[in-house]
């Protein structure tokens, strides 16, 4: 049932199949990076440069 829907909506046409794979890879890449980064920044809160940067910037320069 689920397999049928999957086959009919995605796999049947190669153009749809390939673009689904590409889009899926792209969105997974972005999502995975966001997830890891948010864990990373929470774990290392206050230690990274971006956490202390605003103490030292004068204007809109890095």
């Amino acid at each position: 049932m689920l397999g049928n829907t999957f086959y009919n909506s995605i796999v049947k046409r190669n153009s749809v199949y390939v673009s689904t794979i590409f889009l899926g890879a792209f969105t997974f890449g972005v999502g995975f990076d966001v997830a890891v980064s948010s864990f990373w920044d929470r774990w290392n809160q206050g230690k990274q440069w971006k956490d202390i940067r605003d103490k030292y910037v004068q204007d809109a320069d890095s």
Binding site: F32, V36, W40, W43, K47, Q48, D61, S62
Partner: protein, 334 residues
């Protein structure tokens, strides 16, 4: 191998072998021989020869000599035999303690506020003797300083550049792309300024020493009076963490030596921790990104590994679960 067998057994084994090979032909006769052979070899006569035969003597001697040679090859000396050494354990330096660095864990980045303070300590204290020639001003940008700050720091230093149109070298203020200036023009000058000892470049010092950050921290904070009986030459200093104990670098960090802009109390250990964190960053500037990518890679590769296991089981299930049944042909001819 051979030595484990008594000579009598060796002799009778020929008979056993022979009787084995003729077993099928000669039936009962040789079977009884085999039985007699085994009772004979377990008799006390065979045990006697195990302890008295020349083969045992030779093989036990070879075995002992071999294990002694192997042991000394592995460990250098024999156990339970007193030895006298001219050097003492102190010559290898005290092992540093293990410190809970903020960047120690698998997921931990550097503490960048500490890197910034450590750079200040390096610049105000260590830079008088030690170069740091793998770090350029631009490397500080986005790590411990803003681009503007790094530019200002660079401009404080005069660099020789050129040649210009007339073929002359000229002086100019530093740029972001310049490397941190060395305190001495060459190694000879550095040695001459330090009683013959060369202050090593600190760019990779954390990687270049056993114990890494723990060692350098212990070294900087570990200066004590030499224990009774230890002579330290004029111009040398006693530090138990330095191999040999006598180091040309004197104790440099004292409470309140620098003034931190973020108000952190500049105690000796605070400054040592900060400068070591800074040097650790200089040696491993990729650490933050490396750990982050490592985390992503481990997650992805374990997921892919799990998938590959699943696929393998999926593919192999029919093969592993099949049953092969032999159906004998119904023989109608007979």
């Amino acid at each position: 191998m051979l030595s484990r067998l008594p000579l009598a057994a060796l002799k009778s084994s020929g008979a056993v072998g022979a009787s084995r090979s003729t077993l099928s032909a000669a039936g009962k006769r040789s079977a009884s021989q085999v039985r007699f052979a085994s009772t004979a070899s377990s008799s006390s006569g065979a045990f006697q020869s195990l302890f008295t035969s020349r083969a045992s003597l030779v093989s036990v001697t070879l075995f002992s000599a071999g294990s002694i040679a192997w042991y000394t090859h592995l460990y250098g000396s024999l156990p339970f035999i007193g030895e006298v050494h001219a050097n003492s354990l102190a010559d290898d330096g005290l092992h540093p303690g293990v410190y809970p660095w903020p960047h120690k864990g698998l997921f931990d980045t550097f503490d960048h506020a500490s890197i910034r303070r450590g750079f200040q300590v390096y610049r105000e204290v260590c830079a008088a003797c030690h170069s740091l020639d793998r770090i350029a001003w631009r490397n500080l940008v986005g790590v411990s300083h803003t681009a503007d700050e790094a530019r200002l720091l660079a401009e404080d230093v005069e660099y020789t550049d050129g040649p210009d149109d007339a073929g002359e070298m000229f002086q100019r203020p530093g740029k972001l792309s310049d490397y941190l200036p060395p305190p001495y023009p060459n190694e000879e000058a550095a040695r001459a300024g330090n009683g013959g000892a060369l202050p090593p470049d600190l760019s990779l010092i954390i990687k270049a020493r056993h114990g890494g950050a723990d060692y350098v921290f212990s070294l900087l904070t570990g200066y004590v009076d030499p224990p009774a009986g230890v002579e330290i030459r004029e111009g040398m200093n006693y530090n138990p963490y330095f191999p040999g104990g006598a180091i040309s670098m004197a104790r440099l960090l004292f409470d309140g030596l620098v003034e931190y802009e973020d108000g952190t109390p500049a105690t000796t250990s605070q400054m040592a921790k900060d400068v070591v964190t800074f040097l650790n960053w200089a040696a491993e500037p990729e650490l933050d990104e490396r750990k982050r990518l490592g985390l992503k890679a481990v997650i992805l590769f374990s997921a892919l590994f799990a998938v590959s296991i699943g696929v393998k089981r999926f593919k192999w299930t029919p093969i592993k679960n099949r049953k092969i049944i032999y159906k004998p042909p119904v023989d109608n001819a007979l």
